[in-house]
Symmetry: C2
Subunit: 304 residues, 2 copies
């Protein structure tokens, strides 16, 4: 399971209802944070995620409402005793910003902050997932991030293992992880006891963007697309001029990409209490759409 926490879902300026953009994916104890607007540390701490988890932060672009919160978060995690390194990915300028703050706002933290300025392509890869950056279409360079799990080994069939003479116990675990084992001098390959590999989850976060083809292609068949939906379509011209999307335009991207769930995000302060208008507009294009409120959580489960 992957949990998506919507820490802050607003646009540009915080309101009583919506903080500045910040999303946290929690997966097997690791935290992946996307954008970190001012004030995110407070909500982050109140969520009780823990300050010493394996954690990576991905910044889409160098606008204040998406990046300034990372400065205080770094310091508070240090004060609260973080020991593990913190990996931060983002556009050019991020390293200078953080380094200047570490110099002019002196504060000793024991853990290491590792800053990675990204380009298009794979920005981070583990055994289990890969995260790619693609250039979306905003008024300054904005990287959308595509999180995609690698296929997991197929379902384990105990009856096949027993038939091949593999006794229940540690050898089963190794086969379940996709490793071959040796029983009585014979190599048993995982394919002999596992079903077909299972698809992992794919989640895309657009940051601030106009609708764009790169994002349609990168989001193909995603389980979730979290897309800029700053305005309603009656303000389409303004949205596009400012480098943003409307609910309808976001839905068109999601539909073209055959996304399973569209999350409308980066909601202008003018729609407080009128979020249903955004959802209704998007649903004229595709059915499966939500507008989360701050603090809302989405659980993504694997297909059985």
């Amino acid at each position: 399971m992957i949990e998506i926490f919507f820490i802050g879902t607003g646009a540009s300026v915080p309101t009583k209802e919506r903080g500045l953009p910040c999303i946290v994916l929690r997966r097997k104890g690791e935290l992946l944070m996307f954008d970190c607007g001012e004030g995110s540390q407070r909500s982050f701490l109140l969520h009780g995620f823990g300050v010493n988890r394996p954690m990576k932060i991905f910044i889409t672009h160098m606008h204040g409402d998406h990046v300034l919160g990372v400065l205080g978060l770094i310091q508070s995690m240090g004060l609260l005793g973080r020991k593990r390194p913190l990996e931060i990915y983002g556009p050019r300028g991020l390293e200078e910003l953080i380094e200047t703050v570490e110099r002019t706002v002196p504060f000793h933290h024991e853990y290491e902050v590792r800053i990675h300025e990204v380009k298009e392509g794979v920005v981070c890869e583990t055994d289990e997932y890969v995260i790619k950056a693609i250039l979306a279409d905003h008024v300054i360079p904005n990287y959308a991030y595509v999180f995609e799990e690698k296929p997991r080994p197929g379902r384990f069939h105990p009856e096949r293992a027993l038939a091949l003479g593999v006794p229940q116990g540690p050898l089963w675990s190794r086969l379940q992880k996709g490793e071959p084992v040796v029983v009585k001098g014979r190599v048993i390959r995982p394919e002999e006891v596992l079903g077909p590999p299972r698809k992992g989850l794919k989640i895309v976060y657009s940051g601030d963007t106009r609708p764009c083809r790169a994002l349609v292609e990168a989001s193909m068949n995603a389980d979730v697309l979290i897309h800029d939906s700053t305005l309603l379509d009656n303000l389409r011209e303004k949205a596009l001029e400012d480098g943003h999307s409307t609910a309808r335009l976001a839905a068109e991207v999601a539909k073209k990409a055959r996304v399973r769930l569209l999350v409308l995000f980066h909601i202008s302060a003018r729609y407080v209490g009128m979020e249903h208008l955004l959802v209704n507009e998007a649903r004229q294009v595709m059915e499966n759409v939500i507008v989360p409120i701050d603090g809302q959580k989405l659980e993504l489960k694997y297909e059985s």
Copy 2:
């Protein structure tokens, strides 16, 4: 009247109950902000002060919880249409910090941001008040700010004006403002129709500090002293080691300085729901003590 708004009253790390340090004085439509921890812009905007008021910001020291909020506030005020210049006073490093952010986090605001790096002494003076910085005693340079109104002209006595042949009208206004007027060729001096000059209000904000003599001297006879009171006195050693004060130590400073009201400020997260312990401790030293909660307002009226 001067209003003091306690925007954020916590220490180091924000909690559900207390944001990071930020205080706003409102006086005749002008806003004077002292410290601006992360998240202050959100509370500032929710207070509805207006984004285009004459405004000055005073930063006590370059620790993240006191200064990082100024970065987002500058941008949001621009987005919301500020036109007037914004004056920001603070220690060395402030200019480099703000300039780096303006360069790496590109954002155009129409209004001018004027940064003044301060030293001890008068940092700002108008016809009606003066603000001085004094070095308090923290682990890095921390300026306490002393706001003091100049004496106001004394009470106007209409019967004296009439006796001197000054007719009711614009001439009275000029005398009330302390200007001489001419009636039938004779100069009437304001002293002839006014009582003795009236004392203005004096408010001192310590920022983060151990108790120190400089602050006692600077706070002499202040109406309000807002003083670091991070911990209770059973943790005095820790407080002093970290450059802070306890409630008792703050009260001793206030008592020596014959302050009228002591405001305990910069409260550690460990005292949620136990603020009365801080007040009780301070009241063993002096009576007039409060611990404001976030959002609380204090009205200071002139003596009649």
